[in-house]
């Protein structure tokens, strides 16, 4: 590199312009892609959510959001409420565990699905499998505790923390459902 070349290329303005130009180009590209994909992404998100709702409460023909409770839905069949769908979250072994819980109008658990979790594969992620998940069906809030803590839920061996987290989240969801049914009466 010659001295002249040095002076020419290394003035602070030139360097700054160089970087700024690169950032502007990248900004334009991202902006354009966002402009064209944002609507499609939103639509896909909604479809995905509906799919999750359908998988958890079968046989319902309408899902209506519950006012004042973000993320909560009532599943109705005809004019009869068959279930409340409540999102729940609690701290697992490797981060938050997010669930969707379906609760009957008399506050019993129907089932849950795990929407998001980072639990250890082979240990904590067994919480999504029927051996563990099926235990929750028909339980009321009082019964929802891991057997180590004196409840009725058989914890997954080697994954007590995850079992506790899921149980606690489901219990919270039942409590939320209870407050909704109370409020409705």
């Amino acid at each position: 590199m010659t001295a002249e070349h040095n002076d020419n290329n290394n003035s602070i303005i030139k360097i700054a312009l160089n970087l700024a130009f690169a950032c502007i180009i990248s900004g334009i590209i991202i902006g354009l892609v966002y402009y064209f994909t944002a609507d499609i992404a939103k639509q896909k998100q909604l479809e995905l959510q509906n799919l999750a709702l359908q998988s958890i409460v079968q046989g319902a023909d309408k899902y209506t959001p519950i006012p004042g409770k973000p993320g909560c839905y009532t599943a109705t069949k005809g004019n009869e409420i068959i279930a409340y769908i409540i999102p729940a979250e609690s701290k697992g072994y490797a981060g938050p565990v997010k669930l969707l819980v379906a609760v009957t109008p008399d506050n019993k658990v129907i089932k849950y699905t795990i929407i998001e979790s980072k639990e250890t594969p082979g240990l904590g992620d067994k919480a999504a499998q029927p051996q563990f998940a099926d235990q929750f069906a028909g339980r009321t809030a009082d019964e929802l505790q891991v057997n180590k803590d004196g409840g009725t839920i058989q914890a997954i061996s080697g994954a007590t923390i995850t079992s506790r987290a899921v149980t606690k989240a489901v219990k919270n969801a039942v409590d939320v459902a209870a407050s909704i049914t109370k409020g409705g009466k």
Partner: protein, 208 residues
């Protein structure tokens, strides 16, 4: 053609990103608890590193050397963000699975390293091949670690049970300490292997 093959294949064995260059070890430990995770991460990195090498090489004559690193990072971040937006719109399920890993790709040392070491000094096509080779080497290493960890730690591969119920899973393999131990042994094995390759090449009188 042979030149391109050499550029491609050095990423696989002799300069394998994980086992030899020892770059991006953190994700190799964190993500390889199952084969699916390891594979998706590997493919994502392969895509980003190839594209980034291509772009860095195309713009290499306009980038001021003093700000080259921020510009490379901007380029990586742009590619990742665009990929994220596209996945969100057209493959939301895949996007959900990749989740945090995708954003992590921005700070992968191996991608920046290849931009600096190779793409900034070479023409676009060889740079692309270099990135692709490095990506494949990374994927290969991730797969090796992932297969061993999932097989011994959970008795499954890709979720299918391989070792039956008679096998008590060695949980340490899917925990972080198991990953450290395993990678240590694999690096050792890799060194023995690549030393053999180099020796064989030396005996044939080829330069390495």
């Amino acid at each position: 053609m042979k030149g391109y093959w050499d550029i491609f294949s050095k990423g696989l064995v002799l300069e394998n990103p994980i086992f030899v260059l020892a770059l991006s070890l953190c994700p190799a430990l964190a993500v390889t608890t199952s084969v699916v995770n390891a594979l998706t991460m590997g493919l994502t990195v392969t895509f980003v590193i190839s594209m980034n090498n291509l772009i860095v090489s195309i713009v290499r004559n306009w980038v001021n050397p003093k700000v080259r690193v921020p510009i490379y990072i901007t380029s990586i971040a742009t590619i990742v963000t665009v990929a994220e937006l596209l996945l969100q719109a057209f493959a939301p399920l895949l996007y959900k699975q990749l989740g945090i890993y995708l954003s992590l790709v921005v700070v992968f040392a191996i991608i920046l390293a290849r931009a600096e070491v190779f793409a900034s000094k070479n023409r676009p096509f060889p740079s692309f091949i270099d990135g692709f080779g490095m990506g494949c080497g990374f994927t290969l290493a991730m797969l090796i670690v992932g297969v061993i960890r999932e097989l011994f730690g959970n008795g499954t591969i890709l979720g299918y049970t391989v070792l039956g119920s008679w096998y008590p899973p060695a949980l340490i393999f899917i925990m972080a300490p198991g990953a450290f131990i395993l990678i240590g042994y694999l690096v050792g094995a890799w060194n023995i292997w690549s030393a053999r390759i180099e020796k064989a090449k030396g005996e044939r009188g080829e330069t390495i």
